[in-house]
Amino acid sequence: MIELIISLISITLQTSAPLLLASIGECIVERGGILNLGIEGAMLIGAFTGFISAYFTKNLLIGILASIIGGIAIVLFFGFLVIEMNLDQVISALAINLLSYGICIYFFRIIFSQGSLPYISELLSPIPIPILSEIPIIGMILFNQTIFVYIALISIPIAYYLIFKTRYGLSLRATGENPSIAYRLGVNVSKVRYIALIIEGIFVGIAGGTFCLSMFNVFDVRITAAKGFMAVSIVILGRWNPIGVFGGALLFGFAEALSLWIGTLIIGPISASISQLLSILPYVVTIIALLIGGRKAKGPASLGAPFSRE
């Protein structure tokens, strides 16, 4: 039984990792007043570029790097639309999501001939951390994970420090509260927002990479399964604070892990339909959590509002 619980917690960390990475990135841009609902598409692009690169180079690290570049590119394009062109953030995000979906389908078909199912022969394996991984129970859970879980966990203190302890973080928070006042106080609003978007691009790209490089060895446009939108909910639940976001990501990751875990326990003719049913658990949790925890959430005052200099 103990082993089962350890494996449940361990799976929770794995399923939480992409959610955590994406929501930490989203948390940072939202602190700067930009609501990036295009995160779902950005995650998909990250997964796609990561998969393609890893497939052709047979090098998973290059895959991660490509995920990051893909993520940054698409998020920066979103930034161009909302900052430079001053377009509506929600509409731009919608365009980004559709565009990402289209790009992935198109290039996937062009690159791979119909009928064949390309796959990566080897996934990223867990990296046990010397000594620490020897600790009973905790070692198994925390220190015997893939690089993605480590990056996700480290991203929490990094984001916290960035938001609350740096000069940049202060400018970022001020921009999110009121960009025109921040501008009058000498803050370079566009620069602050672009930097936030680049950071988000990195995190969201890596989040996309987790799907094709550590969980599944194939690519499909449904692979992100609305995890990007979940990340947006996690940011609300986490009250725009990286520590709160960590809690939210764990909750959602746990819901997913639970559905996988229960699925493996049930054997018999009905197991398939039950595990199908259980796979909606994370989405149900999203709705319930938002109903309970999202009620009094008060984010950055100018979140999603357009800003122009004059």
């Binding site: 740096t166 000069r167 202060l170 001020a174 509260e177 009121n178 921040a182 501008y183 000498g186 803050v187």
Partner: protein, 516 residues
């Protein structure tokens, strides 16, 4: 960036603007060939009506607005100020009319934000040291870790000045700084300005108050309709001449006559009994307040902003649920009634926040004019709006209330503050209200618009309307009210009848100082 110093420049000129011109997209010429010099260590007042172009000039110097033409010289060097950062670096510090503070950040964080320190880490303790050093100069003793939203207006202004000083500014531009201060605070504020002047700062004081300009400044520049009219020293001029220069024509000099008829036919329109109201943060903001408003009287409520007036008004107008107590309008308890019911009962409301509560900015003048009556005929027949009658009605209001607008279809966002106020007054008076609640009705308005508003109030009074006038402007209250209640910390401190008015007693009570 810099070029040769023009020969006519003396070393004493710290700021010189030459031929500044700014035309807004809607065709308004806000600045037309504005040329102005500010000397080292002087207090230079720029005096003018609303819409004279003072704030536009400030925004151009601050780098918030790009001028269409003109040059700016700082310390003799030609500079290009294309964003606020450049202005800050050049030592130009601006305290805008609407404070530029982020409410959810602390005082230290707000100031740190504008400082040009390099470094990745946020070093708040270093900023704090500097703040403490400079705060003595302003006699500002507060906890600098307080969030700005928790500070009263007067202190927010001091924080703004402190911010500007921390930026090492030697040219201070203050846009209408005294409009938020009580008479006693103004005196202290002027002391601070003189102090800064002695330390070598040059101060540009933007104001529409003639008396202030005369009492504090070394030189006065008059602006009218975007142009510089004249620069004078206070010694060579007087109040009358300045007023004339500001308006540009002989002002209708008949002053408002105040009549205090004491007829016995007065009846109670509104009576408030033991009212308690909680504020946004759950604190008791209005404490056990009781008073009555009679027909045909103006009842003034004096007090520094943030002493419960806002919550009181919100409770009276049905925007906030009181904790306990009764509000009786013409024999009916209206606690927990909706605004719509109160409007039907004859309550009109002129809110302090004109833009946020008074009008819908993105709708037309005509639409705003019928906002409270759109369900009535002839404006609509329950479902379909009657465009012709709405337009005719709007035209009528424009004429009657002197609203300056090209046509009733103009979006309200294109109107100036004074005209928006006229529109609100016009709408509120259009349904024959019995009770008018007016919250700082003349704040930010120029002489003419203020005079207009006052005349309307006195006219209403003579028609038997009861007016509750909540104002931070003590002069206004003394001039108009039949009685004044002084509010401090949510409580009514004292009631003054017209024959007992004493500005110093009232001002002290406003600050919470008990007087016998």
């Amino acid at each position: 960036m810099s070029s040769q110093i023009p020969s006519f420049f003396s070393n004493d000129i710290v700021l010189h603007v030459e031929g500044i011109r700014k035309v807004y997209p809607n065709g308004v010429i806000a600045n037309d060939n504005v040329t102005l010099s500010v000397l080292k260590g002087e207090i230079h007042a720029i005096l003018g009506e609303n819409g004279a172009g003072k704030t536009t000039l400030v925004n151009i110097i601050a780098g918030c607005i790009k001028p269409d033409a003109g040059e700016i010289y700082v310390n003799g060097k030609k500079v290009k100020i294309d964003n606020p950062r450049t202005a800050i670096k050049l030592g130009i510090g601006v305290v805008h009319q609407h404070f530029i503070l982020i409410p959810t950040l602390t005082v230290i964080e707000n100031i740190a934000l504008s400082l040009n320190n390099s470094g990745f880490r946020l070093n708040l303790s270093k900023v704090k040291e500097r703040i403490i050093q400079l705060s003595n100069l302003l006699n500002l003793k507060i906890d600098f870790n307080t969030k700005v939203e928790e500070l009263p207006v007067g202190l927010k202004q001091k924080v703004e000045i402190l911010r500007v000083l921390c930026q090492n500014a030697n040219i201070l531009i203050l846009d209408e700084p005294t409009s938020v201060l009580t008479p006693i605070e103004v005196e202290e504020f002027f002391r601070i300005l003189r102090n800064l002047k002695e330390k070598g700062c040059s101060i540009i004081l933007i104001t529409h108050k003639v008396k202030e300009a005369l009492s504090i400044s070394d030189r006065i520049t008059i602006m009218r309709k975007g142009r510089i009219i004249k620069t004078l020293t206070p010694k060579e001029t007087n109040e009358e001449e300045l007023s004339l220069l500001i308006i540009g024509e002989k002002q209708n000099s008949e002053s408002i006559s105040f009549t205090n008829e004491n007829n016995n036919t007065k009846k109670i329109l509104l009576s408030v009994n033991n009212l308690n109201v909680r504020g946004d943060r759950g604190e008791l903001s209005v404490k056990n307040v009781s008073f009555s408003l009679y027909s045909g009287e103006i009842l003034g409520i004096a007090g520094i902003a943030g002493n419960g007036q806002k919550e009181l008004v919100e409770a009276l107008t049905g925007l906030r649920k009181p904790e306990s107590g009764t509000i009786i309008i013409m024999d009916e308890n209206v606690v927990n009634k909706k605004p719509k019911f109160l409007i039907k009962k004859g309550m009109a409301y002129i809110p302090e926040d004109r833009i946020g509560r008074g009008v819908v900015l993105t709708m037309s003048l005509a639409e705003n004019a019928i906002l409270k009556r759109f369900e009535e005929s002839p404006f609509s027949n329950k479902t379909i709006m009657n465009k012709n009658s709405i337009m005719n009605y709007a035209h009528e209001l424009i004429k009657k209330f002197g609203i300056i607008a090209p046509n009733p279809n103009i979006e309200v966002s294109n109107l100036s503050g004074g005209n928006i106020q006229r529109l609100i007054v016009a709408r509120e008076l259009s349904y024959n209200a019995k009770i008018l609640i007016a919250e700082n009705p003349t704040a930010g308005l120029d002489v003419r618009a203020t005079d207009f508003t006052h005349r309307i109030f006195l006219d209403l009074k003579s028609k038997g309307v009861g007016i509750l006038l909540i104002s931070a402007d003590l002069d206004e209250l003394l001039k108009l009210s039949d009685r004044i209640l002084v509010m401090y910390n949510g409580k009514i401190m004292k009631e003054f009848n017209r024959n007992e008015y004493d500005i110093y007693k009232i001002a002290k009570l406003m600050l919470g100082i008990e007087v016998n």
